[in-house]
Amino acid sequence: MMMNGGEATEAELFLNCDDMSVLERQRVQLNYHQYHHPGFEPTLPCFFPNSSKMNVGEVDSFLPSAGLDLPEIYGELHGDARISVSPGNITTEFGNSKKRKFGCVDTETKVCNEKKKMMMMMDREVAVEEEEEEKSKVTEQCTRSIMKMKNKAKKEQNSCSNDSSKVTKDSQRTDYIHVRARRGQATDSHSIAERARREKISGRMKFLQDLVPGCEKITGKAGMLDEIINYVQSLQRQVEFLSMKLATVSPRLDFNIDDIFSKEVVSAPMMNLPNTVMPPHMMVNSGYPHDMVNSGYVHFNPMQQVVTSSDPLSCFNNGQSATMWDSEVQNLYTV
């Protein structure tokens, strides 16, 4: 938190030139980010790292103890007014960047933003508007005039200075933050929420666009959705087809695959040692009935030689595997 605050300060100071246009500023911020956080995906509208959602009830139970140290899990603000933002936005770098891009005016605003986040934990509905206002600004590349931003920032600052003193006091009290609407858009809280939601959705769509092959040229939600649907359907069909094929050849599967994929196989002693074959944590985690998997191993343990392959996947690429299997199979049949 402290470190993030420090970084924020640097960024603010660096970017505090009024001469720069909004876009330039953002570009600089992005570069700054890339320099400092190399593994970081700088796509503006992408909210993904923090997109877990929580039920309202769960949020309540977590908030009092959470402080600002919650991990990224409880990251994002839900478009629905019920749910409050979590401190995840403060502690994660990406969350910081979002706020930075918006409040790239001065450090006071930045501090105000963070304090506002704390307030938001208590005060949901209004906070949602505020946050979404910020977010929508970010994602639309701040196409509005700089003047508007400054006005907004000033207003926030004012409300901040008024409210910041209250933050430490009664956490339950609701404070209203005035939201200045952007040019040509409705001020209705519903439509603001709506807008933020849509932007979130389009952010996700962009992410999916990267995932689905051959979608770079397609613009527009409908086309993208079509592509995604087709792709998922084709994948599912492939899986079905392959599983059918597997069903026909599975009698021959028998011992070959097991040799390939098992990491360690216990040798001759006929004792039941199923647990050593499969990494124990996987057994524990799987909801699979234990006896079913165990018995599968018990049948085969006595019949297999010790095979240690560090990476079962290497067998995919290993041309020699065929000969290995044959010898194994012969060994097995001779037992």
């Binding site: 993904f48 997109s51 877990s52 959602k53 039920n55 990224e72 899990i73 478009g79 939601r197 979130k200 959705i201 996700r204 769509m205 992410f207 999916l208 995932l211 689905v212 409908a222 959705l225 079509d226 995604i228 649907i229 998922v232 994948l235 599912q236 492939q238 899986v239 079905e240 392959l242 599983s243 059918m244 597997l246 069903a247 050849v249 599975s250 009698p251 021959r252 599967l253 028998d254 070959n256 695959i257 097991d258 994929f261 098992s262 996987m282 985690n285 799987s286 909801g287 699979y288 998997v293 018995s295 599968g296 191993y297 049948h299 085969f300 990476d311 079962p312 996947l313 995919f316 595997s321």
Partner: protein, 163 residues
């Protein structure tokens, strides 16, 4: 209504819904689930034909078990474990929470209606998709696609290796 409440309570959120599973880990887990299951099937049925449905079942089960950090995998598990019981109908898809109808606002906006349609279709494809709202669903779809891809690769290799 009650069903919806129950579904809501059961709704599990992915811890890191958009972290793409490292391919190796997933594939390894997947094969280690699927292979013994298939063997068990073979053992049980001895020489008789292995039913295609049961193989598909095992395939899906392996997928669900290998990707337990995602919400859709839990839905899949639920569906699979309930479908083991032939008496209990798997009606989870029909009672899900639908996408909010925005037709009231649209009026002449057909395009959005289309998009809604498509989103709904996508929801149907994803296991448990109909019980999530749109944003969740879209993020879950990403990981689902990734896992499906890995699954097909694993299955292909398995089939190829035996033929």
């Amino acid at each position: 209504m009650e069903r919806q409440i129950i579904n809501k309570k059961k709704r599990v959120f992915s811890v890191e819904p958009n972290k793409i599973p490292p391919s190796e880990v997933f594939t390894r887990k997947y094969t280690s689930h699927l292979v013994p299951a298939l063997k068990k099937l073979n053992m049980n049925k001895n020489s008789s034909q292995v039913n295609q449905l049961t193989v598909k079942h095992e395939v899906d089960m392996a997928l669900a078990l290998s990707a337990q950090e995602f919400a859709w995998s839990r839905f899949l598990l639920q569906k699979l474990s309930s479908s083991n019981n032939p008496t209990t109908a798997t009606s989870s898809s029909s009672n899900g929470i639908r996408i909010q109808e925005r037709s009231g606002k649209e009026g002449g906006g057909d395009e959005d209606g289309e998009i809604e349609e498509k989103l709904r279709e996508l929801q149907k494809l994803l296991p448990g998709g109909e019980e999530m709202n749109v944003e969740e669903m879209l993020s879950e779809i990403g990981t689902y696609i990734k896992c499906l891809e890995l699954q097909t690769i694993a299955l292909k290799s398995m089939v190829q290796d035996t033929t």
